[in-house]
Symmetry: C4
Subunit: 200 residues, 4 copies
């Protein structure tokens, strides 16, 4: 017996996305700096944390919008689908940790490892998103039969862009930390622009 | 293809509003004060944190009520609308940070910058709210056709009040911190009173 | 124009209740104790925090159940109702703070003030709950017309029990902290027992 | 009068599950280690925290999937059912605490007590889950009459597996901490595999 409605999977996922995106601010609350520093100096010294906050916020928001769009095509759910969705949510809840590491170590030699973990988490996130769609769409397992096989193949190709770019960013982390982070920022901006101009 | 239902956008937004409003208490939990102080002295010394907590709580609650009322008019959603909504949510999740800064620095010279950041966040929040409504209502893009163009123009004018007053509060921060904070408190009270006596 | 559905008010409230009840555990995570203490000694030394955690958890859960039951009678919502509901949610989000104070100061002279704040928050919470019902039920403002005036008066009387007992607990805080806390625990148990045996 | 819909109980539960599963990351954010350690050394030294994070995440996710599946059979709700559900949620919100204790003390003599608390919390969680089902299914109290008594007895037997294995893990904690934790990991994997291959 498969349950027809996906309401609770979406509600639970919405909860996790909403909490993860809201917890990001907690990492800003511990201003670094020495006793004699002014507030302006301490805020200015925290600029990598603000960039990392904005980038992770934007990425989670865009993944949520994509998750929302993907689920408009989902008609049924089953346990395997919920487990793959759980893997996606695992990467979302994990994101505040590498975000904090990148913010803390940017400009130091340790930043390479932090950036690799940051881009690596985005990479696993994008892979889990692809798995979620491919599992659901394979032989129309959980999606509406109104979607044609050509449309599925087209979405398959389109979704590969994320893991490809995040995989590149992961490799870039070991070459140049700034380039790695800029690629993840560029991808967030690219998705935001294409999403907002898309017909859908 | 535009999805007809706004359920998940509302659920995700509700989650973010609910979490941001609940996280505010965490900033009260670190009582300042020296070893010899009594609990009463430490609580009394924290009065700016209590005021800031109440003011931000009330403002988020009122924005949520307005968000709720705005969405009763929304019939469809699209990616651009979700991105503007995401910008509004960004300011909501960010609020605990300037709230904490104002509470910590009130009465010190640093308070000017903290108050400017506090009022500035409210200003961006109010602007994002206006953008959300204007994007949705422009040529009835996402709203019910039952709403007349005159009603839209009337709501447009009414919504401009928020950014105007918060913009004023932002400028006031550089003149007098107390006046800046009092303006944001007065606006919260004004909205609460007019909201509760409105026919709607 | 009054909106007919109470769905988003319930969703937002559920979010706040769920987050407040889940954040309580954070206060357990900072085990007190000195370097030489064993884990068992540190856990044992934290027993007031465990009692306070359980008591506040149970009270929030019971208020949520009552909120759920109250809303089964609500047919409409308006801004004033959402503001009173916001006052109730304010006390719920505030609860982790006095819970932490009672846990930290139990057995010390400071406990009197902490217990007064704890019972006082419960008192305001119970008053807000009464206001919510009385505002909604007054002349059947927001409730189903199927509920008779006699039933409303009966519920009015029944709901007065909470503020009365929490008011008593508040006064007791200044006489005997243990008695004050025991009264709030007894009330949680009383509500749990009567709720689970009620026909409703 | 019993309310027919279980929507708000599920929404509140989803909120608690989502927040508890997302808060787990906060315990990773405080990297241990001394000043001279590299980031790689500090991350490597935290491996028990990563294992504990993954294991608790997976267990909460699986309990949520089971909660979801159980509720597809629930037709009504009442106060006693909501209280038993509250007991289950209590164990879920409590989990970050023993998870943190196991991660912190693994490899030290104190780990025995931490592991016993960890497995013990899982045991109470599994018992509460069984109580929830048995209370709802007893004489078809809250479930659909389409479910036969034979199916109920079959589910009863199947659900006993969880408390049995977690009870064993609890006893194992006093013999061998690693074996205790491995049993809880094995159970999470077993549930994930059987769930994803089940017809349901």
């Amino acid at each position: 017996m498969e349950t027809k409605e996906t309401g609770r999977v979406e509600a639970f996922s919405d909860g996790v996305f909403a909490i993860a995106i809201t917890l990001l601010v907690l990492d800003l609350m511990h201003l670094p700096g020495q006793e004699g520093d002014t507030l302006a100096e301490r805020l200015a010294g925290q600029w990598p944390a603000f960039i990392a906050f904005l980038n992770t916020f934007a990425t989670i928001l865009i993944i949520w919008i994509n998750h929302h769009n993907l689920f408009t095509n989902i008609r049924r759910t089953n346990n395997a689908f919920m487990l793959i969705n759980g893997l996606l949510l695992l990467t979302i809840t994990f994101l505040p940790f590498p975000t904090s590491l990148v913010a803390e170590h940017y400009g130091h030699p340790e930043a390479m490892l932090a950036a690799a973990l940051y881009a690596g988490t985005f990479f696993v996130m994008a892979c889990a998103f692809n798995m979620l769609w491919r599992y659901a769409s394979h032989e129309h397992r959980l999606i509406s039969s109104a979607i044609t096989s050509n449309e599925i193949r087209s979405i398959n190709r389109q979704y590969l862009f994320g893991p490809t770019v995040y995989g590149l960013a992961f490799i870039l982390a070991f070459v140049n930390v700034t380039a790695c982070v800029l690629v993840t920022i560029a991808l967030a901006i690219y998705y935001a622009v294409t999403a907002s101009t898309a017909k859908k």
